[in-house]
């Protein structure tokens, strides 16, 4: 799957980025980037759950692990583009902002939004990940073998 060309790869990437962003971040970046355009709700923001599944033994048959909270919404811009959001947690404001970004990324504002919203989100996410990875790496055990008596 990951090796083949995916026409939706770009959109998947930005939707995933916004789903994982910390609370309030997408809203703040969007409002700093532009004045929000007019839109109509296709589905007003609603909070629900998604059942998260795991693999038995890490790779085997799926099982139900438990649910997570998710907020979703869908809207359409007056120019016709449809934006969707499915984001982690109970965050109606962020869901609205994420759906707006999703819709606007299909317009001529895309480059501007990428620079002002998506790129900063990606940088922040990479930084958070690096911070943890580097602290983890510092706790890696460097084994050395003591000289044994019998040799």
């Amino acid at each position: 799957m990951k090796d083949s060309f995916d026409p939706n790869a770009d959109r998947k990437a930005w939707m995933g980025l916004m789903a994982k962003a910390p609370e309030g971040r997408v809203t703040a970046l969007l409002d700093a980037a532009l004045t929000r355009p007019a839109f109509t709700w296709l589905r007003a923001p609603e909070v629900g759950s998604v059942m998260v599944r795991g693999h038995t033994g890490g790779t085997g048959a799926p099982f139900n692990l438990g649910e997570m909270t998710v907020t979703r919404c869908a809207l359409t811009l007056d120019t016709g583009e449809v934006g969707h959001a499915y984001i982690q947690g109970r965050r109606k404001g962020d869901a609205e902002a994420a759906a707006l970004v999703d819709a606007l990324m299909q317009t001529e504002r895309a480059a501007d939004l990428r620079a002002k919203v998506l790129d900063p989100l990606a940088r922040e996410q990479a930084q958070r990940r690096t911070d943890r990875a580097e602290k983890a790496a510092a706790t890696k055990v460097d084994f050395f073998t003591m000289v044994r008596g019998e040799d």
Binding site: G48, Q88, E134, T139
Partner: protein, 362 residues
Amino acid sequence: MYVAVKGGERAIQNAHAWLAEERRGDTSVAELSVAQIREQLSLAVNRVMAEGSLYDPDLAALAIKQARGDLIEAIFLIRAYRTTLPRFGASAPVDTGEMACDRRISATFKDLPGGQVLGPTFDYTHRLLDFKLAAEGEIAEAPRREADQGPVPHVTEFLNKEGLIEEAPRDDTTPPDLTREPLEMPADRALRLQALTRADEGFTLSMAYSTQRGYARNHAFVGELRIGTVPVEMEIPELGFDIEIGEITLTECETVNQFKGSKTEPPQFTRGYGLVFGQTERKAISMALVDRALRWEELGEDNVGAPAQDAEFVLYHADNIQATGFLEHIKLPHYVDFQSELELVRKLRREVEATQHREAAE
């Protein structure tokens, strides 16, 4: 028989008002915020998410505050809230091989690729009370080292060239869901794992410990224990493709268990599996041991009659909300029930006394 009795309303209202006051405690001491609980009591938050079976750190922290730190009461609140949420769907099974690991150790293979990463662990601490924590103070930043952020393969995958470790082949069966269908026996492994991952930590720990002490001994080694974050992907019907809808912290434990072989299986290492929300290491290890003990039938092992082999016993008593609901209901008014019991005992007593009287007279 249950008969409604009126008259307790005022007492109940006043009890709840006092509860709120006691929850707050001494008002000259600063109030805890939900964010403080989420950030500083994160392992309690993780336990409430795991056993409440709902991943939402803010809600779990709120539940802990509301429950005055009674974690089972907090789990109860989360379970109740969960039932009010519409279900949008189910995720694709998370890929723990892609985990960004905070911790990843193996007790069986010293030189595993990727190394032994200890992470923020209590292991190797001296378990001496640290009175510095009683005073406020800055903490030093944790040291860092350059990190390779590629995926960390599972230990069993690359150590199984000889085929000595049982494999877990891919399979796309839709798993049963005990939040939708009542848990019934026999329970397949997917259903058992769902019940175990939300099971009470204490119960699961004790069951696992019983297997180590010899009740259904299956000689577990921790092949791998990892804690970290994985993305959660779900197919969005209105889009027609999968997107990441969030990221969660998980603890995964794979045990490898010595197995002499049976009528159906050759000698090999079999596996037990634990996967739990949050940083919940004790629970994940316990889950893996109990999972392995419950697999006796499919592996053709003997049932030695140990509690941890009895799926019905384990699964029907592992849920702390079911258990506490039934246990605690006996403190609620049973006046009418008890009246009839009282009448019965009085009658029996009269009969016994009458018999003794007659025998004495004869």
